[in-house]
Symmetry: C2
Subunit: 242 residues, 2 copies
Amino acid sequence: MQKLGTYEFNIDAYSTDFRGKATLSLISNFLLQVATKHAEKRGFGYSYMNERNIAWVFSRLMIEIYEYPHNDMKIKVNTWVSDTNKFFSERSFSIENEEGKIIGYARSLWAAIDVTTRRPTNLLNLQGLADFKLEHPCPIDGMKKIFPLKDEEPLGKFTVRYSDVDINNHLNSVKYIEHFVDMFDVELFKTKDIQRFEISYQNEVRFGTRVKLYKKEEADGVFILEMRSDDCTVSSARVIWK
Amino acid sequence: MQKLGTYEFNIDAYSTDFRGKATLSLISNFLLQVATKHAEKRGFGYSYMNERNIAWVFSRLMIEIYEYPHNDMKIKVNTWVSDTNKFFSERSFSIENEEGKIIGYARSLWAAIDVTTRRPTNLLNLQGLADFKLEHPCPIDGMKKIFPLKDEEPLGKFTVRYSDVDINNHLNSVKYIEHFVDMFDVELFKTKDIQRFEISYQNEVRFGTRVKLYKKEEADGVFILEMRSDDCTVSSARVIWK
């Protein structure tokens, strides 16, 4: 079995944004899709884990897009396991346009938990996972610390509904990204693009949870976003516009 | 070129609902995907229309699902043009599980408008479209009239954001379905399924529009839903639970 997985997608017109460009949540959806397929084919996907009463937990995603693909374009997404240690498996991605030019990269960190105890599982015990580690270029930075916001007023809120929740009974990973991206004014998308997006998934969010959204401009074009339930911060993100 | 188009999908675990079943919006998304691909391949897709300054307008969808496909299942979606007249093109769908058993049907109505005048275009002038008409079984009823709700109080509301809007600058067709489905309590999904869903797209919804949601039980397990902007009703739906 090849260590590198390559998957093709079409950017359908009806699924793009108002500019005809793929949205960050669509691209993230592709990344999750290929992560699922790649892992499943190599024997450590959702079903394999489920049988052993463990589950993957998506912990972080860093994504950089240099040219957003637009409607009716085909793209290729490459994915591979770039590192594995006791606590985390790092999965990386590169995105190519039709000419084979790299238009984006992403890195993601995954932990695994015991479904009953909710405690982390040692990833080195996952037979075969480490064997798939591949050295392959993914020249983007890791995540710099995101300091908690303090005195900001909430800019928006939502309640977690049926469509927001995934098979693990938590807010779907792509929905976080959608809510974060929606905190920006539409006008900004007319002249700029999100060039880099970092998200840290900190706490699980369940049905009926009321979530508040916070935003602060950290530097010119660099924003820190936060999502909080009544009890805790559930996710933070850093967004860099170019 | 074959009149019938057949497309395969995998129900990825991460994209299912909390029961591990495909959501109605995921299935609707597949329908739109195959509609797009089928039309594009046969020369009357988004790009062809766009070059002629016309656009498809999704008008109605009726969908029946007898067995919701669950995570890690493969399904096939068949689509064909079932009728075409001056004003509407009817596109039908059938959905098969891995054993080739039909688990659902859908029918959709599409109009075309001149992008500049926003007036309907005669579909019989669309070269070749009528030639693709195919007689193929889709034994589900058309839509019965949905009478406007009157005295109900709004049950929810939302503001149309960046991620809600498609390439035509309107609320994405699948998002309507998501918002409608989210009006039901999660508890209902634990014992029942939406067996039939009908939606009528009445008015375009744009960025920043504030939308209110209304619901009424018309008969046992049959609900009428309505989405209204400050000015008008933008969409209605009938949902039948079984």
